[in-house]
Amino acid sequence: MPRKVSLFVPCFVDQLQPQVAVDTVKVLRRLGCEVDFPEDQTCCGQPAFNSGFWDEARPCAERFLRVFRDAENIVCPSGSCTTMVRVFYPELLSHLDRSGEKKSGAQHDEAVALGRRTFELSEFLVKQLGVTDVGAVFPHTVTYHASCHGLRELKLREEPIKLLRAVKGLTFVDMLRSDECCGFGGTFATKFEAISAAMGEQKANSVAVTGAEYVTAIDPSCLMHVQGIMGKKNARAKTIHLAGILASES
């Protein structure tokens, strides 16, 4: 029985980095999954949520629950968006009564259940499908940036690395302080641009020290930011999303 996967495509991937989603589809299909894309989806609500606009984020969450209600497996090529659904939807959709006690309603429970069927890509491949070798070929040196949400909220430390090490021709190089934040942080990147850029520079330096041709991660937003910073420094390395490496066949 092929696994049925509903694709959850982050809004900025959909609009600005579609290749990440295209690659995700390719990898899943190669492994025999039936992939569909609920076209009604828009955004998980994270930008509003992180900025403190929970009233504006809540309808997005409710909408998401509706759009994905019948999905068996929801797979997303982003640690932060997956975190939004699994970790924060239950909190966003519960409500605090006057004493501060969280009251879980039906929506809260629905969100918890939905969260259990929502997976970041590497998580889905390794923990749900049980594969580490996805038949990819990528003859380059690659280093790994451990995006914060995937690492600390979803507890994904080994999964992306296992997948990378199984890629044919790939030389994996460890990065110092791979778990240090790259400095993207959503609206933080523009509201506190100097700090964001300084953090990005520190990350770019860590990448440069490895000498790797590529730096990869499970979060396209991190890569977007690091690529921009590295571009300003005329760095040698390029960014590529994990899905891009796993989809590669030559």
């Binding site: 004493s99 501060g100 006690e101 969280k102």
Partner: protein, 215 residues
């Protein structure tokens, strides 16, 4: 000095009303996990930790050996007065060590700035952290901190495996009812406030010497 303290009631009232809402449930089952590796050989562990703490630890067989070791340590110091906790055992020890230095006893006065060293007993030794447990009855507060060298005389029977035991004992024998102060000392005074470089001998003693009579 009787002081008006109207805020006391206000603060307590604010605390009580704030706590009316109970905190969300946490796992309140009794704690099972072992936080620290159990200490299997306390004396050896004590010795190792003292070394790591940059303390000088001497294990001696009997009171004669203790006196000899003390004499050697004192010889390594510049001439001058020493401050000693006034205790019969220490009075005997000073005589046995043959120390020819002026002695200021803790019953006479507080330690002076000019003391070259202080000599005290200890309430306990702690293997886990290589510590000595002293209190005000060990010659007073200044005795373990004013002079550049502090020498503590102890016995192996005073050695406990860990902090938990030491603090449990201190609670049971009401150490802080009988003493206005106590201190667990785990090394010589040090600081890393300059470029994170460890420098020994900040405001407290530069050297902490422990002489332990083994069983």
């Amino acid at each position: 000095m009787p002081t008006q303290n109207p805020s006391r009631e206000q603060i307590l009232e604010r605390i009580r009303s704030g706590l009316r809402a109970p905190a969300p449930a946490l796992d309140d089952r009794p704690f099972e996990a072992e936080i620290f590796e159990p200490v299997t050989d306390p004396l050896e562990r004590f010795r190792q930790e003292c070394k790591a703490n940059l303390m000088e630890c001497h294990l001696v067989a009997d009171s004669n050996a203790a006196a000899q070791t003390l004499a050697q340590v004192l010889q390594s110091l510049p001439p001058g007065e020493i401050y000693v906790q006034d205790d019969p055992a220490l009075r005997r020890l000073i005589v046995a060590s043959g120390a020819r230095r002026p002695v200021r006893w803790s019953t006479q006065a507080a330690p002076a700035e000019s003391s070259q060293a202080t000599i005290t007993l200890a309430d306990a030794l702690i293997a886990q952290t290589g510590s000595i447990f002293v209190s005000a009855s060990c010659g007073g507060r200044g005795a373990s901190v004013v002079a550049p060298v502090h020498i503590a005389m102890a016995r192996q029977s005073q050695l406990v495996p860990d902090l938990e035991t030491a603090l449990h004992n201190a609670t049971a024998d009401q150490r802080l009812e009988k003493n206005s102060y106590a201190c667990i000392i785990s090394g010589s005074s040090r600081t890393a406030d300059i470029e994170k470089i460890l420098v020994q001998g900040a405001h407290g003693p530069m050297r902490l010497v422990v002489i332990v009579e083994t069983d």
